[in-house]
Structures are given as structure tokens and as C-alpha cells.
């Protein structure tokens, strides 16, 4: 019976043929994909940038710069915990403190300035991940060219802004 003995001598031949079959199949699969892209031009992802400034379609995960959102009462969520400063691999963020006196007359530490060096930033997103109170986020702006390098040093908190109530 065929099943009772193994055709050991033919095993390499079987592998040889199955190798060829596998190779042909996977190459054809690839060609199907590129053939699909070739015939479906609506899949094209190129943005013709300066021409379509109004209708620019940026991917969701595109990262342009770090910003700190403020609400309408000019309040932000930053507690000054320095997690972002510690997380940053190349010293892009510096937190400068001031002491604030709150309603009960107690001294409280708060941020004076959150300095952000855009010219050093690699958009690695580690500061956003590290932030425990979601005070900073990545914006999708990308037209950052300036004539003076100092213009790239940004202070993220607005002048006169305060920490939001209830954020510890």
C-alpha cells in the first residue's frame, strides 16, 4: 500500500516543487495588490501640497508640534509635574515654576512658563504619553519655517493663564 512506506528519496523533490508553488503564489498575490493600485487611482495618497492648502487631508497620526490647549477662561490642565520634561529624550521641554498663593492663602507650586524648543523636537510623542493630566497634545500644523531660530522657542502656556480647577 502506498501509505505503509515513506518515499524518503522523494521528500526533497516534494519540497522543491512546493517551494516553487509557494513562491509563485506569493508573487502573484503581490502582483494582484499592485495591479489593484494601478487600476484604482482613487487610492493615491499624494497631497499636492501648496495647491491644496484649503483641502489638505492630513493623516490622523500626523504630528506637527506640541501645544497646550486652553479653555475659554484661559485655563490649562498643566500641574507642572515635569513628567514631560523627564520623558523628553533631547531636552526639548523646560518647566519653569512660580509660587502662587491660592484662595486659602497657602503657597502652591504652579508653572510660570512651559518652554518648548521646536527646533530640537523630533515629534516622538513621548511627552504626550507621559503627561498624567492630558495638558499637552500634538497639533497638525507644519509650516514652521522662520527667519530667526529664536522664533522656534515657544512658551506653551498663554500669558496670565491658570490651572484649571480640579486638576491635581
Amino acid at each position: 500500500m502506498a501509505g505503509t512506506f515513506k518515499l524518503i528519496a522523494f521528500m526533497p523533490v516534494k519540497k522543491y516543487i512546493s517551494d516553487i508553488w509557494g513562491a509563485v503564489r506569493s508573487l502573484l498575490k503581490g502582483m494582484r495588490r499592485t495591479g489593484y493600485y494601478f487600476t484604482h487611482h482613487k487610492e493615491i495618497i499624494t497631497e499636492q501640497y501648496p495647491d491644496n492648502k484649503e483641502t489638505l487631508n492630513l493623516p490622523e497620526r500626523f504630528k506637527g508640534e506640541v501645544v497646550m490647549p486652553h479653555d475659554e477662561k484661559n485655563e490649562h490642565r498643566c500641574t507642572g509635574c515635569q513628567a514631560c520634561e523627564l520623558a523628553c529624550p533631547n531636552g526639548t521641554i523646560k518647566v519653569i515654576f512660580k509660587n502662587e498663593i491660592n484662595a486659602e492663602g497657602k503657597k502652591k507650586k504652579a508653572i510660570d512658563k512651559l518652554v518648548y524648543h521646536l527646533e530640537l523636537c523630533t515629534m516622538c510623542n513621548l511627552c504626550i504619553v507621559a503627561c498624567p493630566s492630558d495638558a499637552i497634545k500634538m497639533a497638525q500644523t507644519f509650516e514652521h519655517s522662520v527667519f530667526d531660530r529664536n522664533d522656534l522657542i515657544k512658551i506653551l502656556n498663554n500669558p496670565g493663564s491658570k490651572i484649571m480647577d480640579g486638576v491635581e
Partner: protein, 358 residues
Amino acid sequence: MWSFSNISDNIHDWLSANLDPTWTTIAEMVIAGIAVISLFAVLGLILVLMERKVSAWMQIRLGPNRVGPKGMFQSLADTIKLIVKEGMTPDGADKFLFNLAPFVAMIVAMLLLAPIAFAANFQLWDLNIGVLYVSAISSLSVIGILMAGWASNNKYSLLGAMRSGAQIVSYELSAGLSVLAIVVLTGSLQMSEIVRSQADGWWIFKGHIPAIIAFVTFIIAVTAETNRAPFDMAEAESELTAGFHTEYSGMKFALFFLAEYVNVFIVCAIGATLFLGGWMPLHIGNWEGFNHAMDYVPSSIWFFGKTFFLIFLIMWFRWTFPRLRIDQLLNLEWKYLLPISMINLLLVTLMAILGWHF
């Protein structure tokens, strides 16, 4: 009816009416030379643009779209740029060989054009050993590449040239064997005879599975012979900067570039002639009505249509398949393609002897 053979006959009649036979021959040679050179120029422009557009669409990009309507003049603009650029010769190079190499590459491509039948009764040179001539001349292309690599006095160039030598010498074998399959079926080495034998159906249909295997082997082997990705070991942008044309610039680089694209056209034309019937319209057995309808399409359109279909296929390969390493490349030839095409040739011979094809 308008056709290439009519035009060439008219020119011949007009020349022989006005000139004596010697001058007629000379004038015809000059006309043929000019026609070949202008065909090369047009092919270079069209194929470069086609390659860029095809690759862009396959990679979900737009491709050239700024110069002229839909970017149609992009390759023309590039050519003008290359003509205007300085053709540098490096100090340490072997100047004579360095400057000769692009022309060798180009002349080999030109020689290969001779036996190709572009339309019915329209052929530069219908020699009776056409297929042998093609495989003999196409192996010469390695000389141009080796010359360029050696004369550049640059290790990248030399490495690229050596790889290309190993590659072309080995892939020549399976290309030759797959071509032989059709020669066995036809029983002739003459291009016009091979085309005529496909009047009742192309060999790829008439030859059953062995012909299809031969066709696939042929396409793989000629892709390797023309040094195109996925077999671009001679250029190998990622490891050898630009391989054998690292040191070339300006028009000398353009000649290599043009020779590559013309070679692609030529091998596709040969593939179309051998497997897809050359200028022969699509005929199926003895369906009279269908065959008649197909005859209304001019033979030159059939030829160029098939050739460009094969060119598109080769471009499709290029922009889909991953590149091979040099050892994988030689493995593929010596362990897979060569044994397969040898067995295939035996099968085809058996088929031809027993008359199993249509």
C-alpha cells in the same frame, strides 16, 4: 491600404527609379539607420515616462504631472537636462574604455533590432538564423557593462560589473533554452518563419503548458539579462550606489539608461515574436469570421500592442517583487530555472515529435 511594407516598397521603387543600385542600397541603409536612431529616441522618451507613471500608480503616487499636459513632456525635459550637463571623465579612469563603453552598450542594442519583424513584410534583415543571432548578440551586452565597470577605476563600478557578468552569463542559459522550445516547435530559426507558423494560433496557446512554462522562464531570464529589478544586481542602488554607471554623468549616463530601456523593448519584442505571434493577429483555429475581423487591425499595431503588454508585465514585476541577493539570484538560475527549462525542453521535443500541438 496604409502599411509599413507599402511605405518601404514605395521608397524602394522611388529610389531605384532615380538612382543606380549601389546608391539605392546606400540610401536605404542611411534611411534605415536614421529610422533606428529615431525609434530609439522615441522609445527612450516613451518608456521612461511609462516606467515613471506605472511605478507611481503602483505605489499609490501621482508620478510626473507638472511638465506639459499630465506630465507628458517630463522625459523630454530630463533629456534636455542630460544633454546640457557636462560629461565628466574621472582622473583615474581608463579614458578610452570609459568613453567607449556607453557606445558599446548602445551599439549592441542597435544590432539586436535587425532581425525583429515590426509589421508584416517589414523587417530590417530577415536572416535565416534570426533567433541564434539574437542570443549571440545579446550576450555581448555584458562587454559594455564590464568595460564601464573596469574603466571607471571605482570599486563599486567593478563590483557591479562583475555581478552583472555572472548574472548575464547564467541567465543567458535559461533564456536560450526557453527560446529553443519555440524553435523546436517551429522547426526554424528564422523570425519571419516563426511568425508565419503562428497564423493559426500563437505558440503560447498552441504549445500547451510547456510553452507557458517556457514563456515564464523567458520573461524571468530576460528581466535578469536586462539588469532590471528584481534582478538589478549590476546597479544595486542600495549597496553599490549605482553599480557600473556610478562614475558616468550627462549624456554618457543617458546612453546607458537609453540602452537599458531599448534592451527591454527588444527582449519584449522577441518574446512577443516567439510566444505571442509577433505581428500576427489573434487567430483561433478555423473560425473564419473571427480571424477575418482580427485581420482588419494593422499588423504593426498588433506587434507594438503585444510588445508594450510585455513591457508592462516586466514593469509590473519590477515594482512588485522584492530584490534578490546575488547568491539567491544565482540559486534561482542554477537550481530552479535551468533544470526546469531543461526538462521543459525535453517535453516540448516529445510534443513536437508526437505532433501533440495544434
